[in-house]
Amino acid sequence: MSQMSTATLAGPRRRVTTLLGRHPVGMVFVTPYVLFLAAVFAYPLGFAVWMSFHDYFFAAPGAIVDRPFVGLDNYKTVLTDPAVRRSFYNIVIFLVINVPLTVVLALVLATALNAAIRGRTFLRVAYYVPYVTASVAVVGVWLFLFSADGLVNSLLGPLAPDPSWLVNESLAMPTIAIFVTWKQLGFFILLYLAALQNIPKELYESAAMDGAGPLRTFWSVVVPAVRPATTLVVILATITGANLFTEPYLLTGGGGPNGASASPVLLMYQRGVEQGNPDVAAAIGVLLVIGVILISLVNRRLIERD
């Protein structure tokens, strides 16, 4: 955090300001946002957590229903449900494919883009376009491409997997992982581009003087220099991946062959909204949030260690 220069303050004001901070007007500035967060985020979140400890379902206003406290029952149900376990496993598969792929591709493409001079605008637009379009729109063409008699299979000919991509138990989640990587990459390329801009020229020059080739330069100059960006990319990709809903919902409606591409949030939606069990859904959600926070902390520590 940057240091603020201190101004001298008179006596009574000092007491107020140490209680409320040096610039209490800041609280005023922040108030609309805080109110917004309280109403639209904190309240529903608190409610969801409360729900996860009760036998809860939504009823019409005025209906008298029993909502007993059930302690950890919902969590027990969730943790012993094979479908839920499968969905967490699916997310791990997704993350294992998506995160490294995102990091590598984004960095490579950003590095190349950084040095390119011609056609830069076109390339930038090209990479960002999938990010800007709604999943609903893009999913249609992907389904078209990856269906059993779609273009991809026509190209692969005899190598085409059978059953085809999205209905293949072992290929469904990886296919979704690739789709999401493709769609989000533009944003991460941008993050890396910004980080690359900040690498001082001297580092490149000294590497060149040591006789390092492009690959070596990349490896020993670029990669370490963008490490904070990498942390950011990894954490963001992890969070987005863990909260995956749209793509499994659209690409494999209902969770894919045997739940092979169900994600925890998809299950939350099914259990909570479709089947009317918001208490179980809330339990899944709480577990997911805790898991994501833990993984993010671990990721950060791992990457920033060496």
């Binding site: 904190a42 009823a59 019409a60 005025g62 062959p257 479709e274 089947q275 009317g276």
Partner: protein
């Protein structure tokens, strides 16, 4: 980078939020007696099926012309599976309309549990009206407490459509093809696929939404067991010998590649990818011009005669929702919309079968003009609905997951999987 929040400030904030939450919830209930008599403008929802909307708008106009002080406002909601979510959310929020002309019988137990529905028995002459109009079939639409929370409105009895051109190409009889027994059905399917007349014999959606079983397993199960529901007497019925036979038939279809395991994005039958489809008469409006179609009842293992075969009704009903304040008007509109005249219009415009006693006798002109529909009308008298039990959607999802795993993808043996699922389902049906 991340700063750990001072826990001290978060905890009281959260506590405040939680206590506030606990304090809310539960408000004053409306006075049902008064509401039952009240009249005034009401809101209704229609599904967004093109023909149903056309019928609905005409019905609303007719009513509004005669009742200027009790006008109906009609809105459309999605017809697909998402309609249950929309309705559930509306019930919770207290802004559901008075009538919804797209209430799925499978969702009724859930809406009822939420306190979202008005029992028709509590309305003036409600029970008598329902039973009078629909006859004995109405029994299946009663809720466990013996009351009617929905009025059976229209059904789409599920039968086998076949593409006459494809059949001809495969060398099968087009006027009276042999599809009555499982063996016949399988033989015909094999011929179709081997002769490459179509890439699939029949193409039910292999995805795992909870309602997909209504269009592969369930109709055959109903036909085979002569009218048993998935759950009867609070016990799962599908792990019986009949249920296993039906599952076996479908498993053979999937194993031999006669029905694909991959979802088709579009209409397989309409696009000529499959030779048969298992649908109801609403499909006639869609395929009518495109495909030269024929219809046959669903197969049974022994080949029962067509007049004895029962099938799934795929009904959509109308219910009155508790958020309704002008229930007097709503009840009159409901009776109007299900009157003989309006039912006739529904039949004409959509081709779907009103759930009315003896429709062939009630609308002789229509059926003499459109003999194709006569088969469906006859079938409509022999339909079976989804069981009206608690946790109905979860039950169907549980069944679908088991079916998908064992029958469609063959990962596990059918009898074990069905037995395990049956135990779960029986437990769910027993809750209240």
């Amino acid at each position: 980078m991340k700063r750990m929040p001072p826990a001290l400030t978060l905890v009281p904030a959260l506590a405040l939020v939680l206590t506030a939450t606990a304090a809310c919830g539960g408000g004053g209930g409306g006075d049902a007696q008064e509401a039952a008599k009240a009249t005034g403008p009401i809101k209704v929802w229609l599904s967004n099926n093109k023909e149903e909307v056309a019928w609905g708008k005409a019905m609303v106009e007719a009513w509004n012309a005669a009742h200027a002080d009790q006008k109906i406002t009609a809105e459309e909601i999605p017809a697909g599976k998402s309609s249950e979510e929309v309705i559930g959310a509306a019930i919770t929020a207290g802004n559901a309309p008075c009538l919804i002309f797209n209430t799925a019988p499978a969702a009724v137990p859930q809406f009822q549990k939420q306190g979202g529905l008005v029992p028709l028995d509590d309305l003036d002459g409600g029970k008598a009206y329902v039973e009078d109009r629909t006859g004995s079939v109405a029994e299946q639409y009663k809720s466990p407490d013996g009351k009617y929370y929905q009025i059976p409105w229209k059904s789409n009895p599920v039968m086998i459509f076949y593409n006459k051109k494809v059949f001809a190409k495969a060398g099968l009889d087009t006027e009276a093809p042999k599809l009555a027994t499982y063996d016949d059905f399988l033989a015909a399917s094999r011929k179709i696929v081997q002769s490459k007349a179509a890439s699939a014999a029949i193409f039910p959606a292999p995805s795992s939404e909870f309602f997909q079983s209504w269009f592969d397993f369930y109709p055959l199960f109903i036909a085979e067991t002569d009218g048993k529901q998935l759950v009867a007497d609070k016990k799962a019925q599908f792990d019986s010998p009949e249920g296993l036979r039906v599952a076996g038939m479908w498993k053979t279809m999937y194993d031999e590649g006669l029905a694909p395991r991959e979802k088709y994005n579009g209409d397989a039958f309409g696009d000529g990818k499959s030779a048969m489809a298992i649908v109801g008469p609403w499909a006639i409006a869609v395929y009518g011009e495109k495909i030269d179609w024929g219809v046959a009842p669903v197969p049974t293992s022994t080949g029962k005669p067509a007049e004895a075969i029962k099938t799934f009704s795929d009904a959509k009903n109308v219910a009155m929702y508790s958020a309704c304040t002008n229930r007097g008007t709503a009840w009159e509109v409901l009776k109007f919309a299900t009157s003989k005249e309006q039912d006739g219009k529904l039949l004409e415009v959509t081709g779907q079968m009103p759930l009315r006693k003896d429709i062939t006798a009630a609308y002789p002109e229509y059926f003499s003009k459109k003999p194709d529909y006569k088969t469906f009308a006859a079938q409509a008298a022999r339909t079976v609905e989804v069981p009206n039990v608690p946790n109905s959607v979860t039950i169907w999802q549980t069944f679908r997951d088991a079916y998908s795993e064992s029958v469609i993808f063959g990962k596990k043996p059918v009898d074990e999987t069905f037995k395990a699922a049956a135990e779960k389902v029986t437990a769910l049906a027993g809750q209240s």
